[in-house]
Symmetry: C2
C-alpha cells in the first residue's frame, strides 16, 4: 500500500495553474503541426508509421513543440518555419522516448503498452533513428543552419545525458550535482532548444535568444524535478498514474539523493539493497516513501523545482507583457503545481 | 565442416585488384579525417569515446569516408570541407553499425567482440545516437545545406531499409526485388551520398553529381551482394573470417533467394525449417552451401554484383582520366574480386 505523502498545506487553496492559455494561444498552429507530424512520419515501410503513430497518437502533451510555437509568437514571428521546426522538435523528443524505453526496458509509456513492449526492441531502435533523421530533414527544408546547429547540439547533449544516467544508475553515491547534470542534459536541453528557436526565427537580438534558452532550460529542469517527485508521490496516484517506476529501475533521482544523504547507516543499507542490488520486497516502496517523508525529501526537491521555475519566469522579464508571455509564465506554474 | 564452394575458374589467374591506389590518393586527407574522428568522438562522458573508439579503432576499411575524399579529388575540390564531411559519413556509418549489432544481437564485429557484447545494448543504442548527432554537428559546421539534405535523407532511407529488413527477416518468400530494395536502402544509399558530396562541394554540374551518386549507389549494391555471398563462401574462410552469420540469424539474402526459388519442395522445407523456424542442426550450414552450389546461387549472385559494378564503372565515364578516376574504378574491381 502506498503511503500518502503530504507536500504542504497550500494544496487546492488557490485555482490550479493549467496550460489552457498556452493551448489557446497555439491551437491553430498546433493543428498544422499535427498535420505535418502525421504526414512526415509516413513511410512506404508500414511498420514505421504504425509504431511511431502508436507513441505520437498516445498523446503526449506536445509541450516541447508548443514551446517553439509560443516563443515564435512571443517574438512576433510572422512566417511558417516554426511549424516544421516544431514538428522536428517533437520527432526528436519521440525518438528519444523510443530509445529510452528500450534502454529502460519499460513496458508502459503514457499509460499504454510501450512500443518496445508491443513490437520489440529492434523496430523501436530503428524507428527512433528514422524519426531522428526525419527531424533533420524537416530542419534542412526550413534552411536555417543556426536552428540545425542548436538541435544537433541538443541531440548530442541529450545522448550524453542518457549515457551518464545509465552510468550513475543504481549508484547511491550519486550526488545532487551529478543528478542535475544529467537532467539538464537529458531533459532540459531540448526544452531550451525548443524555446530558443522561436527567437532565432524572428531574428530577435541575441539577448532575447538567450532569455528564451534560459527560460526553456530552467523550465526543463523544474519539469524533470517534479516528474521525479511525482514518481514517489500520492498526487501521482490521484492522477491515475502508477508510482514507483524509478524505484523499481533503481534510478537515483533527487528524492533518493536527499533521503540517502540525510539518513543513517541502516537507512542507507535499505537504499543500497533496493536500488543498487535491486533486491526489492513488497512494502519496500512504501518504506522508501516513509523515509522520504521523514527527511522532507519530496518537499525539498519541489523547493528546488520552484527555484528553477523562478529563474525561468524571470528570464521572460525582458519581454513586454503579452498573451504569449502570460501563457509561457503559466506553463512554469503548471509544471510545478501539478505536483500538488 | 564447411563445403568448399567454387566460384569459377578464373581465380588467382590475374593480379588481384586492391585498394592501394585509393589509399595512396587519399592518404594525407585520411590522416586528417582520422584526427577529426578521434577529436570529435570525445565527450566528458568517458564511456562514449571508449565505446565508439572500440568500434572505430577496430579499423573498418574507412571505405565510405574514402569515397568522399576521392570524389572531392576527382572533382578538383580545393577546400577543407571534405574532411569534416568525410568524418560525418564515418560517424553515420558507425552509428548504424552500433544499432545494427543491437538489432541483430551480434556478438562479433570486425573479428572482435561487438560493442553490445562488451557493454550491453543500452550504451550501444545511446552512443549510436550520440555519433549520429555529432555527424550532424560536423555538417552544420561546414554550413552546406545541400550536404545536410543528402545525408539526412540517406539516414532516413537507411533506417527504412533496416526496418524493412527486419520485417522480411526469416521470410523465405522474400523475392529478389524486395531484397534489392533493402540493400539499396540500408547499404547503397550511404555509399551514394558519400560519393555525391564530393561533386557537390566542388560545385560541379548536376550531371557530375548524379554520376557520382550513381557510382556510389551501384558500388554499394555490388558491395552488399558480395558481402552476402561471402557469408556462405569458402573464400571468407581463407580470409580468416567466419561464415554463416546470416544463416544463423535467418537473414534472407540473394544466395538463399535464388536457391530457394530454384529448389524442389523438399529443399524448401529445409530452408523454412532453418531460416524461418530457426531450427538448425549441425551440418545444416554445409547442407545450405551444398544446395547453393547445386543451383549455382553464389556464382549467379556474383554475376548480379558484376552487373551493378559495371554500372558503377560506367557512371564514371563522363570524367576525364585521372588518378582519382583510376582509384575509384579499382575500388569497384576490388569490391567484386574480394569474393574470389
Amino acid at each position: 500500500m502506498a503511503v500518502v505523502v503530504s507536500l504542504g498545506g497550500e494544496r487546492r487553496e488557490k485555482p490550479r495553474a493549467n496550460m489552457d492559455r498556452l493551448s489557446a494561444l497555439v491551437a491553430d498552429d498546433l493543428k498544422r503541426v499535427n498535420d505535418i507530424i502525421l504526414a512526415r512520419m509516413h513511410s512506404p515501410v508500414a511498420l514505421i508509421p504504425q509504431l511511431a503513430g502508436h507513441l505520437i497518437a498516445a498523446g503526449g502533451k506536445r509541450l516541447r513543440p508548443m514551446l517553439t510555437l509560443a516563443s515564435a509568437h512571443l517574438c512576433g514571428y510572422r512566417g511558417d518555419s516554426h511549424l516544421k521546426l516544431s514538428a522536428a522538435v517533437e520527432f526528436i523528443h519521440t525518438a528519444t522516448l523510443l530509445h529510452d524505453d528500450v534502454v529502460d526496458e519499460s513496458d508502459l509509456r503514457r499509460g499504454m503498452a510501450s512500443a518496445n513492449a508491443v513490437w520489440g526492441n529492434k523496430p523501436s531502435v530503428l524507428v527512433g533513428d528514422f524519426l531522428f533523421s526525419r527531424a533533420f530533414q524537416l530542419m534542412v527544408e526550413e534552411g536555417s543552419l543556426p536552428v540545425l546547429g542548436i538541435l544537433s547540439h541538443a541531440s548530442a547533449v541529450i545522448a550524453e545525458g542518457e549515457v551518464q544516467q545509465l552510468i550513475t544508475s543504481n549508484d547511491t553515491e550519486t550526488g545532487e550535482t551529478a543528478y542535475l547534470d544529467v537532467i539538464r542534459a537529458k531533459t532540459a536541453q531540448l526544452f531550451a532548444a525548443a524555446a530558443h528557436i522561436g527567437a532565432l526565427l524572428a531574428g530577435r537580438p541575441k539577448v532575447e535568444e538567450e532569455a528564451l534558452d534560459s527560460y526553456g532550460l530552467n523550465l526543463g529542469i523544474a519539469f524533470q524535478l517534479v516528474d521525479d517527485v511525482l514518481d514517489y508521490s500520492a498526487r501521482q496516484i490521484e492522477l491515475g498514474k502508477t508510482i514507483g517506476d524509478d524505484f523499481r529501475e533503481g534510478k537515483i533521482t533527487l528524492p533518493v539523493i536527499l533521503t540517502f544523504r540525510r539518513g543513517d547507516e541502516e537507512e542507507r543499507r535499505f537504499w543500497r539493497r533496493t536500488l543498487e542490488a535491486l533486491d526489492q520486497n513488497p512494502g519496500d516502496l512504501s518504506h522508501a516513501q516513509m523515509l522520504m517523508e521523514r527527511h522532507g525529501a519530496l518537499r525539498d526537491a519541489l523547493e528546488r523545482a520552484r527555484h528553477y521555475g523562478a529563474i525561468a519566469r524571470d528570464a521572460l522579464g525582458i519581454f513586454p507583457d503579452s498573451e504569449a508571455k502570460r501563457a509561457l509564465t503559466e506553463v512554469v506554474d503548471f509544471c510545478i503545481e501539478r505536483a500538488y
